[in-house]
């Protein structure tokens, strides 16, 4: 089960600067820690986070092993048109999650 929490305004004025927040459940295992059996736990992190507005990429972020579990990303965007904001996380072990929210720009 993948868990995502997104906070984005449902409506915005054209040209308004809005804050978008995205939180995801993920262990962000660094690949440097030994497990209880003494062996190194293989790295399992989110490598990339992207956000796109109606298919146009507005943010791309590379994540590193130093980022804590359950990464929280907050950023700003200018509201240009109504439509869909899509958040996408991809990473190790085939991790790929996509979540969208609708926004009304008047």
């Amino acid at each position: 089960m993948t868990q995502v929490l997104i906070n984005a305004p449902k409506t915005a004025k054209k040209g308004e600067v809005i804050e978008l927040k995205a939180l995801i459940l993920h262990p962000m295992e660094t690949g440097f820690r030994p497990g209880t059996n003494g062996r190194i736990i293989p790295r399992n992190i989110i490598e990339r986070f992207t956000a796109s507005w109606n298919g146009n990429e507005i943010l791309r972020m590379d994540l590193s092993p130093a980022i804590a579990a359950n990464p929280f990303v907050s950023f700003f965007a200018v509201a240009t048109e109504s439509g869909k904001i899509t958040f996408r996380w991809t990473g190790d072990e085939g991790f790929a999650v996509e979540e969208s929210v609708a926004i009304d720009v008047a």
Binding site: N7, A69, S74
Partner: protein, 253 residues
Amino acid sequence: MLPVVFAASFALAQVGADRAGADKRRSGYQDMGAALQKMQDDDSANPGMLFVQLGQQLWSKPAGAANKACADCHSIADMKGVAARYPAMLKDGDKPIDLEGRISLCRTANQQAEPFAPESRDLLPLMAFVANQSRGMPIAPPQDARLTPFREQGAAIWVRRQGQLNLSCAICHDDNAGKKLAGVTIPEAHPTGYPIYRLEWQALGSLKRRLRNCLVGVRAEAYAHEALEYVALEVFLMDRAKGMIFESPGVRP
């Protein structure tokens, strides 16, 4: 004799005045920085809410031989206040059980399913979901005389020195609360936000995990996971925090 009586009644009056006036007890929330407080208050930034959401899904997922979900017997509204009340005695039980114990009991007895492992990815979200229903309510332990011996047991553990550091819970959390242990403010240890998302753990954890954490910290041997000592301590701590506002899922450094 007279001065003693006078002193005693004076002390009582003081306690009464303190109760009536501002409550001097502090939740760990009040000792955190503004950034962490905001993190806890904002449901889209509080990582504990991820687990609440997960718990909500598990709530209506059937399990076990009985193929029943929590939602088949309980309404979510019934869960309001439950976490602010536990640990409690079962109707015909002889020892108190905490929220974790209650959920485990429901799982094995009513759902006839495998018990959850302690601190597991199934148990914690369910606890978080149930606890979240009591957010904003005052902590209200049940008025049950059968709890008294366990509360006393908990109180005795609270003041008992243990571990290689030879410290009791009370030495830090009563006598030195508010002062610093290295860079960290020592909290008063009121269980207002459990299960909490602790940044140090990078995970959600129960009060039991926190208690084990402290026991290891004073270099004592932690009680076994199923030990009654934890529940007794919880009974004592919930009584000590009576009337404080329940804030689960809390965020703590």
